[in-house]
């Protein structure tokens, strides 16, 4: 396996700028899609910073003024969730999902590419199914008007970020399939 459990990659390398396939079979999605996923990841990071700030204010409020931010858990939970969903397309676009490369390292580059086509086709399918199921979740949350318990944030807000993010992930997978098949034909 080439990626790290806790840090998720061969650490310091510019992973997001490459367009087509490099010397390895490893592909990153570049171009407009690469830029879009990167921008969304930065926005997601912004949500994380907001969650950090809310938590800090809440801790200071609790110990300094005896009054935490109302519903701080819910706010942090939702801001983090939105952030993480925005990360998913970026992670796959820069090849950040861990795979076991060791077992197939001895195969020819073509065989490895073929295996990757297979795995990205399955991944596309999975991401599409999850998009479908999350949309069902979105419609349900919208219809029932379910909210968080303390401060009543509608859950469909978060779902409406999750659905397009998951769909974008499916497109990233599909683009990888196209690039991989292109590389196979060459």
């Amino acid at each position: 396996m080439s990626h790290d459990a806790d840090s998720g990659g061969r650490a310091p390398q510019p992973a997001s700028d490459g367009g087509g396939p490099d010397t390895e079979t490893e592909l990153t999605v570049g171009g407009a899609m690469g830029a879009l996923t990167r921008a969304l990841a930065l926005v997601g990071g912004g949500f994380l910073l907001v969650a950090t700030a809310i938590t800090l204010v809440s801790v200071i409020g609790r110990y300094g003024f005896g009054q935490p931010v109302p519903g701080d858990y819910e706010l942090v939970e939702i801001t983090c969730a939105v952030g993480v969903f925005l990360f998913f397309p970026y992670t796959h676009a820069v090849n950040g999902n861990i795979t076991a490369e060791f077992f197939t390292a001895g195969l020819s580059k073509r065989s490895r590419l073929a295996l990757e086509v297979g795995s990205d086709v399955v991944f596309t399918f999975v991401a599409l199914v999850l998009t479908w199921r999350l949309s069902a979740g979105l419609l349900e949350k919208f219809a029932t008007g379910e909210t968080t318990i303390l401060i009543g944030i509608p859950l469909w807000w978060a779902y409406s970020v999750a659905v397009p993010s998951m769909f974008l992930l499916a497109i990233v997978c599909l683009m990888r399939v196209v690039v991989e098949i292109g590389a196979l034909r060459r």
Binding site: D6, L56, R133
Partner: protein
């Protein structure tokens, strides 16, 4: 086909998919959903799929993960590691192998604010590697010390792996963090001893540098105390319930960000890099957690872990023999698999088994003790060939050192790891004592 047989078949299918280069998250998700659908029915599965991806991500306990990842990445962007290394060098540089020892100590200190091993090793390498080479250290010792030192990042709390273990086993994160401190100290000292022994056998591999004056030594500690303060506030605060793990991680991330900005010279570009790295790692972890949720729901339905536990318990082997066998399995798996994936795949199977055995300590103590053991085995997996990730990362930063040299350099540290594993197996109190368990 019985549920149990289905469990075995789909478990095998998952392994096959992983071997065929499918991302581990997707392999777990595919097999988990298939199995769940076949056992519990497709309609319940569709219902589950509408909930799990969101509920796994929007979970207050899990919000601690992105925040700790962010904290580590912010630390890696600033020059904090440089100051820690300088201080350690002032104290131990005049011993034979002293720069390597300082590297280990610097990694240990950096590990107190960074929960990732590759980030710890790579950050320290950018400073210590050129120095060691300049002073004539052998490529083997220089890269070996950095690769091994990096693993202290996941052992010494905060540790992303421990956060995930805590959630997986519903164990107190504060206790797990505390439980890792003594093994972290043993590891640091053990690596120091390994360097000492290695440079006794090969004196030319790591010459000493000039001795620093006592005033310079104490002066250098100025750089250490902010890091120590963050560590104590975050870990102590979580353990004593002054704040929740998420709050502790937020406080730690903010404090580390400020430290990186003021002392470490991080600016907006560094901040952006830290955020993108955080995004990549967090996305990877959460996709695996979603896959693992389906996978473990299915495993629980199939009763496979329970059947295995029953079978092993029925053989009547002594508890410590079974534990040793599991440790050996982890050592082998660690050579072949990524640590996080290894843990998520095996814990639902091995933990029920371990919990059926009698080690003479309480249930909670066993969970904590076993968790630290697994964590250490994951560390070892990051430096053992053929895919010791830390070794690859460090070696790629040392252009003139062949890969075989780097793996040779690992040997003393690997032996030190084995001794540490033996100590922790024989003396569970090394983990449970500080966590207040018995």
């Amino acid at each position: 086909m019985t549920n149990l047989e289905l469990g075995v078949v789909l478990f095998a299918l998952m392994i096959v998919l992983v071997v065929l280069r499918m991302p581990i998250a997707i392999a777990m998700l595919v097999c988990g959903t298939l199995g769940f659908g076949l056992i519990a029915g497709w309609r319940p599965l569709l219902g589950l799929m509408a909930q799990v991806p969101y509920s796994r991500v929007a979970n207050h306990e899990l919000t601690v993960i992105p925040l700790f990842v962010l904290m580590g990445q912010l630390a890696a962007q600033g020059g904090i590691s440089q100051a820690l290394y300088r201080s350690a060098l002032a104290w131990v540089g005049h011993y034979r192998g002293g720069i390597a020892m300082a590297t280990i100590a610097g990694c240990a200190a950096f590990g107190a604010i960074c929960g990732s091993s590759v980030a710890t090793g790579a950050t320290m390498a950018s400073i210590a590697l050129p120095e060691m080479r300049r002073y004539g250290y052998s490529g083997a010792l220089a890269t070996g010390a950095l690769a091994a030192g990096g693993t202290l990042g996941i052992l010494i709390p905060p540790s992303i792996i421990l956060v995930i273990y805590a959630i997986l086993t519903e164990q107190s994160l504060g206790q797990l963090f505390l439980a890792a401190i003594v093994p972290g100290i043993i590891a640091t000292v053990g690596y120091g001893v390994a360097i000492w022994a290695y440079t006794r056998v090969f004196p030319s591999a790591g010459p000493a540098v000039a001795r620093a004056s006592w005033s310079a030594r104490f002066h250098s500690l100025k750089a250490v105390w902010p890091v120590l303060a963050i560590f104590i506030v975050v870990i102590g605060g979580i353990y004593y319930g002054i704040f929740t793990p998420t709050e502790g991680a937020a406080v730690g991330a903010a404090a580390t960000g400020v430290l990186s900005w003021t002392v470490g010279g991080m600016r907006l570009a560094g901040m952006k890099r830290a955020i993108l790295e955080t995004a990549r790692i967090t996305g990877m972890i959460f996709l695996i957690l979603i896959g693992a949720e389906f996978y473990s729901s299915f495993l629980a339905l199939s009763q496979l872990p329970q059947a295995l536990a029953q079978w092993v318990a029925g053989t009547g082997w002594p508890a410590f023999a079974i534990l040793t066998a599991i440790v050996l399995i982890y050592l082998v798996l660690g050579c072949l698999m990524d640590g996080l994936a290894m843990m998520l795949v095996t814990i639902p199977v091995f933990l029920p088994l371990i919990l059926r055995l009698d080690f003479g300590i309480s249930h909670d103590a066993v969970v904590v003790w076993f968790g630290i053991l697994v964590l250490i085995l994951i560390e070892v997996g990051q430096i053992t060939p053929p895919i010791g990730l830390n070794v690859y990362v460090i070696n790629s930063m040392a252009k003139d050192v062949p890969m075989t040299e780097s793996f040779k350099g690992i040997v003393p540290f690997f032996l030190s790891d084995l001794v540490r594993i033996a100590i922790i197996i024989c003396v569970p109190a090394t983990t449970t004592w500080l966590a207040g368990l018995n």
